[in-house]
């Protein structure tokens, strides 16, 4: 298990380097980027498109070492990120990026986290119901609704939810963030696609477990449906479910970008969308890397949880066929 963690951490570091190189490369290649080192003009000319005032530009030259060769720039970009010295950005010249992130990222993470928790619980419940009632109308109805949930992206769901709950019934707020009730619709919009795919996964996985030989053993020992499902099959089908939580979380986190914009939630997604539209390169660089790190850490946690829960990985480090 220890070696497993070390190995995973090593791969994570590699992935992080790749993301940072790609982000840096993209920013350097972008037309009008301030990362271009124009020796003659001290880097200022390169940024004319960005409408950066000279004083600000000078501070960026210093902060990002724009008068040095690219590898030095890259090194300081990486170092700055790792040591949490995020500097300032074009759009928020008087607000350190770090405190901007501190202010906005919790909301985004909160959205993604609550959506994951709610989504997982609902998925498990629906998946179990459908699997236990396999091949009945309960199963087919649940799964049809789940299919709709998978097929329709969260932002379309969000628009429909806004329309129904905010515009027609007027029972929930649909704009801004002033309290927990502002969380309800965004989380619901994010949860529905998650439930769509995860409950299907849960059902299929549970059905597969329920059809395996050891379940026959359970019945042969005098167990009933309850013992089969809750004593054996559920636990075994939750394990593979954990492995899909990781990608789901990543998808959710990306979904928050649009959802925050739709609901006017002051989260990191809105900041990023704004930064992208305004070509706020310093902010784009930091936040892309930040999102990537969060995704990687989540995947790592998911894998470790899986490893910790599956005795085969915990004890011998692998499962055959996986």
């Amino acid at each position: 298990m220890f070696m497993y963690i070390i190995k995973r951490l090593f791969y994570m570091a590699l992935a992080f380097l790749l993301v940072s190189i790609v982000t840096f490369g993209l920013m350097k290649a972008a037309p009008g980027t301030f990362l271009i080192n124009t020796q003659m003009l001290g880097g200022v000319q390169a940024a004319t498109d960005l409408n950066i005032p000279p004083q600000l530009m000078n501070s960026f030259i210093k902060e990002f070492h724009l008068n040095s060769p690219w590898y030095v720039q890259y090194w300081f970009y990486l170092k700055g990120f790792v040591t949490l010295h995020f500097g300032y950005s074009i759009e928020y010249p008087s607000l350190p990026t770090m405190s901007l992130i501190k202010r906005t990222f919790p909301l985004t993470l909160g959205l993604a986290f609550s959506a994951t928790v709610v989504g997982t619980i609902v998925s498990i419940v629906l998946g179990v119901i459908a699997a236990v009632k396999e091949h009945t109308w309960v199963d087919s109805t649940t799964m049809f609704i789940a299919t709709l949930g998978t097929a329709i992206p969260s932002y379309v769901t969000a628009i429909v939810l806004m329309l129904v709950f905010g515009v027609w019934w007027r029972i929930l707020p649909i704009l801004g963030f002033q309290g927990i009730q502002h969380y309800i619709l965004p989380v619901a919009a994010l949860v529905i696609p998650v439930v769509g795919s995860m409950s299907r996964y849960m059902r299929n996985s549970l059905i597969e477990s329920l059809h395996s030989d050891y379940i026959v053993s359970v019945y042969a020992k005098g167990g009933g449906m309850r013992q089969a499902v809750f004593g054996h099959a559920l636990r075994n089908s939750l394990l593979p479910l954990i492995t899909v939580v990781g990608p789901q979380l990543a998808g959710l986190l990306m979904g928050t970008v649009i959802i925050e914009n739709l609901f006017g939630l002051p989260g990191m997604g809105q900041v990023f969308a704004n930064a992208a539209q305004q070509k706020d390169y310093p902010l784009i660089m930091v936040s892309t890397l930040l999102y990537a790190v969060v995704i990687m850490v989540m995947n790592l946690l998911v894998d470790l949880t899986y490893g910790g829960l599956d005795p085969r990985i915990r004890k011998i480090g692998y499962v055959q066929g996986r």
């Binding site: 050891y214 053993s217 019945y219 042969a220 020992k221 005098g222 167990g223």
Partner: protein
């Protein structure tokens, strides 16, 4: 005294989208307490289906007719709840593939004590004591520690022993072993067989042993039922197997057992492929298409006739008297 298990006219059919499968067709069988019988047949002959029908563990697309009496009670008529009370306690089962029949993510201790817990026979702690004793009996060293191990930490032979112990934990009257040794090495096979036989004798259980291996069957069982295409071809006492057999199919099976001390000739085998029991059965004898003794009469289905108290057969040849092997 009434037999422990008495099956009469048992038929099992599976319904699928495409066709009906005639898995078992009018089977009769009886087993006395303390005795062992073996059901022998190729894969697809319906031998395992019979026992799954007895346990009522078949999938929902199976329809079962006939009678299965355990201690005089027809288990096919019992409600599911009452049936559950029998499983594991009155009759227990050892499966073919111990590796997949054990939950890979639970310790064997947790799995072994389940029959006792399901039937409220003991607390978990007491049940573990019983499990330790049983593991010891089936020859697992350090049983107390091994209780906390997971199935993947056992070898195939050990796991099969654990399975046997698990089946015995609630002290059943009837033990059904469904090809318990097929997946094992030959040497391990013998050990497990001996163990099984020993335990059956000691406990005075009824044992139904399902296998495709006639030689194994002869070692373990008192009576042997040979199945083909969902029918019992011949029922014969193990002691008479080599001397009194009637059915050409059984003869073919016996001949294809290699004899270590015999001359090295080419091994005879039964030509053709096992009959398909999907869709429908032939009007005549199900074995006719592969039978070298086939004659006109074989276009009709043979009756199952008794030759002696422990010997019966379904073959037109038997109508004309017993033909010596």
């Amino acid at each position: 005294m009434a037999p422990l298990l008495e099956i009469s006219n048992l038929s099992v059919r599976f319904h699928s989208d495409k066709a009906e499968v005639f898995a078992v067709n009018g089977l009769d069988l009886s087993l006395d307490t303390g005795k062992a019988i073996a059901i022998v047949g190729e894969s697809g002959s319906g031998k395992s289906t019979v026992m799954m029908a007895v346990m009522r563990l078949l999938q929902s697309n199976a329809s079962i007719t006939g009678q299965v009496k355990l201690d005089g009670t027809d288990v096919l008529q019992l409600p599911e709840k009452a049936m559950r009370r029998l499983r594991g306690k009155e009759m227990a089962m050892v499966f073919q593939n111990a590796g997949s029949s054990m939950n890979p993510t639970k310790t064997i201790g947790d799995q072994m004590i389940e029959p006792m817990l399901f039937h409220h026979m003991a607390s978990a702690r007491d049940a573990r004591q019983v499990a330790v004793k049983l593991l010891h009996q089936v020859g697992i060293p350090d049983p107390e520690e091994r209780l906390n191990n997971y199935p993947f930490e056992f070898s195939g032979g050990q796991l099969q022993r654990v399975m046997i112990a698990m089946a015995l934990i609630a002290d059943p009257k009837l033990l059904i072993a469904d090809e318990p040794t097929t997946a094992l090495d030959v040497t391990v096979q013998a050990e497990v067989l001996i163990l099984l036989k020993k335990l059956q004798r000691e406990r005075g259980m009824g044992l139904v042993f399902v296998t495709h291996d006639l030689a194994v069957a002869a070692q373990v069982a008192d009576d042997i039922y040979v199945m083909y295409g969902g029918f019992v071809m011949e029922r014969i006492a193990a002691s008479e197997l080599t001397t009194h057999l009637v059915h050409p199919y059984l003869r073919g099976l016996v001949q294809s057992i290699p004899k270590i001390d015999g001359p090295r000739t080419e091994l005879p085998y039964i030509p053709g492929q096992p009959i398909s029991i999907t869709g429908g059965l032939p009007d005549g004898c199900v074995f006719a298409s592969r039978c070298d003794k086939r004659f006109v009469k074989c276009h009709e289905r043979p009756r199952h006739i008794s030759i002696s108290q422990q010997h019966s057969v379904s073959c037109w040849l038997a109508e004309g008297g017993v033909e010596q092997a």
